[in-house]
């Protein structure tokens, strides 16, 4: 049954494989989001001397299974809650905003190479092997701000409005730093295709770009915290000042979509960092594109392991640092990171120009 696929028209094969990859990536991301929520709750509990959700296991049994049933329970809770729309909101935008937040997060994942191949060299483990991969990513990431701003505006209430304003300022400022920080990478690699970036780093641990561009990684990491609205930069949400920020007025599944969007964004930026700085799917001892199914799966596992470590870093930082003040955040973005990133571009450009001559 599966053998006959290779005699298909190449276009039909492409459509089939792409559809499969989209389904798998989408499903895996959603699973990872719920896992990340549980991991966040467990890790935060451990850091605060608590135990965290360890009870919910397989339903209707006493099997607890490390509390991983919490994934299901959290999802169900969101689905079954009352979906309440306050009567003073701008309804169309109010309904549109969660979707607009969620979609860009998933779209960014399209260009991330999450593995080499699964044995077939024509079928690379990336949904869209774009030559302008990184430009596409930044284009999509900058759409992410609209959902949040729209939510703040549509809620017609002061706290969400402040949250929306804060997020627009924060995300737009940090996008610049983020965009500038990755330019040295592409000066070194000489291509915007993320597959080529991974190829450049496939020689093993010592070829990873994080060693050549630590400053770029540092800026990108911090900008990623700001872009995903995570602590210490969670100004748009800041529970202690703005109740819930832009999603104060949301409930049930619409709220869950914001949540999903935030975590999917985290996953996307972690994957991006892994691809740009930590060798993507290549294991630490270096690898060529896989020629067998098992080697291919190993590469995917390697990529996932790196992403999970980055996610743990994100979760850990949340409990490590207090929230920045708003002017400190802006100061850091505009007066520290943008000059630092520009300086980094300049130095890298000089080095590349001298080295290549």
């Amino acid at each position: 049954m599966f053998e006959s696929v290779q005699y298909w028209d190449p276009a039909a094969q492409f459509v089939l494989f792409s559809a499969l990859k989209i389904l798998v990536v989408f499903g895996a991301t959603l699973t990872f989001v719920s896992l990340a929520v549980v991991a966040e709750r467990r890790v935060s509990a451990w850091i605060q001397d608590r135990v965290g959700p360890n009870r919910v296991g397989i339903p209707f049994t006493n099997i607890r299974f490390l509390g991983l049933g919490q994934m299901l329970a959290d999802g169900l809770k969101f689905l079954l809650k009352e979906d309440f729309t306050p009567n003073y909101v701008r309804t169309v935008y109010f309904w549109l905003a969660p979707a607009i937040t969620l979609i860009p997060a998933f779209l960014t994942l399209a260009v991330i190479p999450f593995g080499s191949t699964l044995g077939n060299p024509n079928n690379r483990m990336v949904i869209a092997n774009l030559n302008v991969g990184i430009l596409y990513t930044f284009g999509i990431v900058s759409l992410g701000v609209y959902g949040i701003v729209l939510a703040g505006y549509a809620s017609n209430s002061k706290y969400p409005f402040l949250g929306g304003i804060r997020s627009s300022a924060q995300m737009i400022s940090y996008e610049i730093a983020m965009g500038l920080s990755v330019i040295p990478i592409f000066l070194l690699v000489g291509s915007l295709n993320l597959g080529d970036v991974v190829g450049y780093q496939s020689g093993g641990l010592h070829t990873w770009l994080v060693w050549k561009q630590p400053l770029a990684f540092f800026i990108f990491l911090i900008a990623a915290f700001a872009e995903t609205n995570r602590l210490p930069f969670d100004m748009p949400e800041s529970e202690s000042e703005l109740i819930g920020g832009y999603h104060t007025e949301y409930s049930s599944m619409k709220f869950a979509l914001f949540f999903l969007g935030e975590y999917a964004n985290m996953i996307a930026s972690c994957s991006m960092m892994v691809t740009l700085f930590f060798g993507g799917w290549t294991p630490p001892w270096g690898a060529e594109a896989a020629t067998t199914l098992w080697a291919g799966l190993g590469h995917v596992a390697c990529f996932l392991a790196k992403v999970i470590s980055m996610m743990l870093l994100f979760i850990w930082v949340r409990w490590m640092l207090p929230r920045f003040r708003y002017d400190q955040l802006m100061d850091l973005g505009w007066r520290r990171f943008i000059p630092m990133a520009l300086f980094n571009i300049l130095v890298t450009a000089f080095v590349v120009a001298l080295w290549q001559r």
Partner: protein, 186 residues
């Protein structure tokens, strides 16, 4: 007192010492909880607190060491009870004989509505018979309001045995001693 606010130097303004400090603190707590299992959480239904002496939980009736009801249906607790949680049905003129010799009466029914009870302890203080005590139960549950009204049987079962005085038994012994001549010790 004047507190010096020294301006931060460039190293401190780079946020790096603060990040390192934050990591140290979080790691210490993480390691303590995960590797040394020193979490402060009590796994509640499996582990429970040890109640201190004198804890004022739910009031239950107690039996004496011979297994007899100590309550004599005097109804003082019913009168004193601030939220009117106690309802005693006395035996009446031709009522039920007490289950121990020499006592006048015992309640036909003794009900405490645990939904009303505020665990104040006045019933315990007012009881001349030391028949009702606030005990260490704090988590009373039921599936219906009716289940939360505890009757005499249930209260006695929950209350257990009290090793304190047995006033009526003492009186009985004294009365018996009266029959013996010559009176000993007087």
């Amino acid at each position: 007192m004047v507190v010096d606010r020294k301006p931060l130097n460039w190293w401190e303004r780079s946020y790096l010492p603060a990040i390192a400090g934050g990591f140290r603190v979080t790691w210490r707590h993480f390691a303590n909880t995960v590797f040394r299992r020193k979490s402060v959480t009590m796994q509640y239904p499996e582990e429970k607190w040890v109640m201190p002496e004198g804890y004022r939980g739910a009031p239950y009736l107690v039996s004496d060491v011979d297994g007899h009801t100590k309550c004599v249906s005097c109804q003082l607790c019913e009168f004193i009870c601030p939220p009117k949680a106690i309802l005693i049905t006395p035996p009446g003129p031709a009522g039920l004989a007490p289950d121990r010799p020499n006592a006048e009466k015992m309640p036909r029914e003794f009900e405490i509505n645990m939904l009303r009870c505020i665990f104040c302890g006045l019933c315990q203080e007012v009881c001349p018979e030391e028949a009702i005590f606030l005990q260490k139960d704090y988590s009373l549950t039921g599936l219906a309001r009716g289940e939360m009204i505890y009757n005499k049987e249930k209260l006695l079962k929950l209350g257990g045995v009290d090793t304190g005085i047995q006033k009526w038994k003492q009186k009985l012994n004294e009365a018996r001693e009266q029959e013996v001549f010559p009176v000993q010790g007087s």
